[in-house]
Symmetry: none
Subunit: 204 residues, 4 copies
Amino acid sequence: LTGTLAETPTRDRIIDAAVKLFAERGYRRTTIGDIEAAAGLSPRSGALYKHFASKRDVLEAALDRHIRTLEAMTTAMDLMPLGDVRAEVTLLVRWGLQELRKQADLLLILQREAFEFPDLVASFHERLAKRAFRDAADWAKRALAEHGRPEADADALTVIVLGAIVHYQTECATYREPPGGVGEERFVRALADLCVRFVEGSNV
Amino acid sequence: LTGTLAETPTRDRIIDAAVKLFAERGYRRTTIGDIEAAAGLSPRSGALYKHFASKRDVLEAALDRHIRTLEAMTTAMDLMPLGDVRAEVTLLVRWGLQELRKQADLLLILQREAFEFPDLVASFHERLAKRAFRDAADWAKRALAEHGRPEADADALTVIVLGAIVHYQTECATYREPPGGVGEERFVRALADLCVRFVEGSNV
Amino acid sequence: LTGTLAETPTRDRIIDAAVKLFAERGYRRTTIGDIEAAAGLSPRSGALYKHFASKRDVLEAALDRHIRTLEAMTTAMDLMPLGDVRAEVTLLVRWGLQELRKQADLLLILQREAFEFPDLVASFHERLAKRAFRDAADWAKRALAEHGRPEADADALTVIVLGAIVHYQTECATYREPPGGVGEERFVRALADLCVRFVEGSNV
Amino acid sequence: LTGTLAETPTRDRIIDAAVKLFAERGYRRTTIGDIEAAAGLSPRSGALYKHFASKRDVLEAALDRHIRTLEAMTTAMDLMPLGDVRAEVTLLVRWGLQELRKQADLLLILQREAFEFPDLVASFHERLAKRAFRDAADWAKRALAEHGRPEADADALTVIVLGAIVHYQTECATYREPPGGVGEERFVRALADLCVRFVEGSNV
DNA sequence: ACATACGGGACTTCCCGTTCTT
DNA sequence: AAGAACGGGAAGTCCCGTATGT
């Protein structure tokens, strides 16, 4: 009686629902019943426990699935170099914003529950955030060297640029409007300008 | 028998305790009893309700007191201009990081509980964050104009710089280590470099 | 994993704990939390309310269970007659003291809370105390008639003898020592002497 | 403006009110406000604290005043001997019932709060109850010796008779009706009969 | 997979003892 | 002496995580 197209398995529907709700309301305020309802199960029936041992287990599974997906993913770095600083920075920023937007739910959860699940957060940070930073810093180092500015502090500059990107996206997600009324296009262009002028000097 | 130095009133002790605990554990995980105990009252006695109508009321009072304090404060802008872009940026960044550090507890709470108390967060954002952004953007506009770059997007640049600062501080607070191993000195210098090169061109 | 011997149901554990504590400290001084803790539940968790509607409800259930048990019980009267006044009085007194001792907790509670729960106490008195009095008075009437003393006030004598027994036990329970240093054996013998001499005259 | 007849001092009015209320409702259920109101003070004003340090202090003062009064009192023993056992027993029982009735409030309180104020109760018991027992037992010993029954257990008989008296009064006070429907006259006569027959044999 | 039962945590309310101010 | 303020204890309720029976 089930169609030929496999329906999403209950387990995955539960994870999807949980991530959405955790992001919306926080881990504590989301009840098992909420998750069950959102996953199409009968609320407060305990049906979730057929698939997960506990509430925490749902969160762990969500993170695990997410990390697995990300690790299998192509990053912007794989597309470099483009031979032009402005193009490369623009790509980097756009790709970064887009990634952050796609991962917004998980990132929000991790950020908020950092103190409740320090181990989960630390592991995530270790496996993904640091890798992203390394990739970006490597690219920066190369770009600066190519433009005769090897003495510049590539790591610090990466921290600045990535921080600006992450914060921009966070603000958009939190307040549902771009900070300072600066839309994404202006943000990307300004960031590119800043980087280009830094590596290339006044002769832009 | 009470000394000449007035003891901290219970109401304030409660607010202090609550802010500390909300920041540490989150709003939901902090119980009235925890707050009472930390404020020197008897836990689970309900004594807190002699001073506040509800748990939420405590948070509102904390924000209110905080905002009042901040509004009465001198900002870095009051010390401008210093006549030198590097000096000014350095002052701005240092002062910003310091302020963020002092307000870390409240900011952490606001960020985490943004969805539970949207009105509180919005009001805070309205009354403080936007003002800070305006001040910084005004300064940027003036600085860019003075250096013959009035066409630059001052607002967008401000968003970038402030975002980088806020994010840097957030990361330090969350993971208890500077992002990318970049200490504060390097961070400040790199940000100053970036700004100076942007406004002054390559002849630094 | 649960053994073959059924554990005492929570409801009964609560009643047992409550009776013990009510007797020890009184109804008011015993908190729901105390009862929960003594019944193996988590104190102040409210778990008791899964089994009883209120604190008073626990007391009522205890009385109810107790009365039910007592009503199903064989009394000393069922063993009469023994054909000898001394033997019968001795049996009666011994059995009475023993019963009172077994019911000490409930009786102490009833006595102390008489004014707070007049209806409970009255119902208990009606269903048990009066019945016991009637049984004893009937026996006395018969014994007196058999010994040619039908004119004696059997009811009044029963009030005296039962009163002495009840009070003796009460004192023992309250002060944890027999009144006047008179141990149980001496008490029983003296009471038997008194009764025997009364019904049989000086020719004892 | 105060009349020539000294009004009862507030302190005494408080004690009277407290004893009455403690007996009616028990110590815990009687609030300071209740006592103040009953003493003609404004309830919950704290005016009681002008006269007593605490609630417990009121009870102690009541006991103290009571004991002082009793110790100054003539007892039935001071009227002995009457030269006739029946007369003496009747006097003893009547006087005992009357005393118990006058002291009913205090005795009720002591009995109920025995476990909460063990020291107070013990001290009362020591100073009054034991003395009464000694007096009665001494009288019994003498009466038995005079009637040629020195071998009888005077202490045990005293425990029985006094116990019957105390219990009779307690029942009357608790249920507001004489136990077994036996009025005071019948009770006194039966107790006298019992005693007379015991000391004098069948030739009554 | 559902419905229900059980147990725990925590908020809030009520009430009361005590103190301070007037 | 009165009134208000403060602090503490505890009842009762709500909600939720989890186990169990069906």
